[in-house]
């Protein structure tokens, strides 16, 4: 009998806390949203299940424990390895031609990083986060999961779980967050601006782009080299036309494998002790602030650019909202919004892809600057 009692006492059930139960519910919500609403399922399923694993008492499956997930966390996230590999896959999967054909949209991608800094300042001055935490929270406004994980794992590893969840949750909520802000900041006349086709891009230019961008960005902000270098390497093997096998692996099996490890390890940082704190609530609020300011930054800057552009070259300011990254969802949201507002006459999907992919570069550079100045 003593053995049975001892066995029961050693079971996870006997050691479950109310915090674990709450985390099970949160993990269940993430998994539900991923399956039923298709909200970033490739990430939210591993993150949700990782959160369940981390909250199994005595299971040693949390990222801060000593089990196999901790091994992935310590060797893959703490060392900065996994996010750059994801970025390599993103580079393979991203067509930068819409950006190259209309280089001015680089600026919209920069302006749409406004939310990063607005959220960081709000976190620091109003919610008493320290500088490193504030910067890690701010990067949620870059709407780029791997970049958020990359920066948070370096500056505020204890906040990695809530930051990753906020980043991916708000990315999937872009269709809800952005349209009201775009509507508020643009007039009907502006929404009706039909941009001409972008300049066609030669293969030579498409090949030179990753080489030059990767080199220049890494020279300017060395801390961004892991992200920018890998992103641009991925894009080079996409564009060069002679590395089909590498392209297929980096954009397929490899990014999938790394996504599984990254998602599980990030989810497993969400044990009750680390996640159920007032700071998590603050991070979720600040994530919304970051996305809203980033959207507004892109739109407002497009309007400012229009003051200086000739009539024939005016930009539909709605595409500025796509500068928040969240590729390609933000561009699709802009396309759908403008199309609905103009009864299908204006369809700026390709123009919106320019700032959309520029935003990936912008947020990676912003993360690099934060690392340089704060690490």
């Amino acid at each position: 009998m003593d053995t049975v009692i001892n066995l029961l006492q050693q079971s996870g059930l006997a050691n479950l806390s109310w915090g674990n139960w709450i985390m099970f519910i949160i993990a269940g919500v993430l998994i539900y949203l991923a399956i039923s609403r298709q909200y970033e399922p490739l990430l939210l399923i591993p993150i949700g299940f990782g959160a369940i694993l981390a909250n199994l008492p005595l299971g040693e499956m949390g990222s801060y424990d000593n089990g196999i997930i901790a091994l992935i966390y310590n060797s893959g996230i703490k060392t900065e390895l996994l996010p750059p590999i994801i970025f390599m896959g993103v580079g393979v999967l991203t067509d930068f031609r819409p950006l190259l054909g209309r280089p001015i949209t680089f600026l919209l991608g920069a302006a749409a990083q406004l939310g990063i800094f607005a959220a960081a300042l709000t976190a620091f001055y109003l919610l008493n986060f320290n500088m490193k935490e504030a910067a890690s929270i701010g990067i949620i406004g870059g709407a780029d999961g791997p970049t958020s994980i990359f920066l948070a794992s370096q500056l505020a590893p204890h906040l990695l779980g809530p930051i990753a969840v906020a980043a991916y949750s708000y990315m999937s909520l872009v269709p809800i967050i952005q349209p009201p802000i775009i509507r508020l900041l643009t007039s009907k006349k502006e929404r009706n601006i039909d941009m001409p086709q972008a300049r066609p891009v030669s293969q030579t230019a498409a090949i030179l782009f990753p080489i030059i961008t990767g080199t220049l960005a890494s020279l300017a902000v060395p801390s961004s080299a892991p992200l920018m270098g890998m992103l641009m390497f991925g894009n080079l093997i996409r564009e060069c036309g002679v590395t089909e096998r590498l392209k297929k692996t980096a954009g397929g099996a490899l990014i999938d494998i790394v996504t599984i490890f990254l998602g599980l390890a990030v989810g497993a940082t969400m044990d009750a002790g680390h996640f159920l704190t007032p700071k998590t609530l603050g991070i979720l609020i600040l994530g919304a602030v970051a996305f809203a300011f980033s959207t507004a930054g892109g739109v407002i800057f497009a309007k400012i650019l229009n003051i200086f552009l000739p009539q024939a070259k005016k930009i539909n300011p709605c595409i500025g909202a796509a500068g928040v990254s969240a590729v390609p969802m933000a561009a699709r949201v802009v396309q759908k919004f403008v199309s609905e507002q103009t009864d299908g006459r204006v369809n700026p999907l390709m123009p919106a892809m320019g700032p959309n992919v520029a935003g990936v570069i912008g947020s990676a550079v912003a993360a690099g600057v934060f690392l340089t100045l704060l690490k």
Binding site: A110, L216, G362, V369
Partner: protein, 70 residues
């Protein structure tokens, strides 16, 4: 670091992002100009489409040459 420093850091970071992307924009503009996409002068599919359309509208017309005017 004092409270005012994060403001300086954020301002510097935003400026750095802007400057770098503006510079990249300029460089890419130059690259696109130096290495323009060569439009195919004998695109068979386009030629066939134009020829078919014109011969439908103006039966008996023979297309000998077509060019793109920008």
């Amino acid at each position: 670091m004092g409270p005012q420093n994060l403001l300086v850091i954020c301002t510097s970071a935003f400026a750095a992002v802007f400057l770098l992307l503006a510079f990249l924009s300029l460089v890419m503009r130059i690259i696109i100009t130096v290495f323009p996409k060569q439009l195919s002068k004998d695109d068979a599919a386009v030629f066939a489409a134009v020829a078919t359309t014109v011969s439908t509208v103006y039966p008996g017309t023979k297309i000998t040459r077509f060019e793109e005017i920008k």
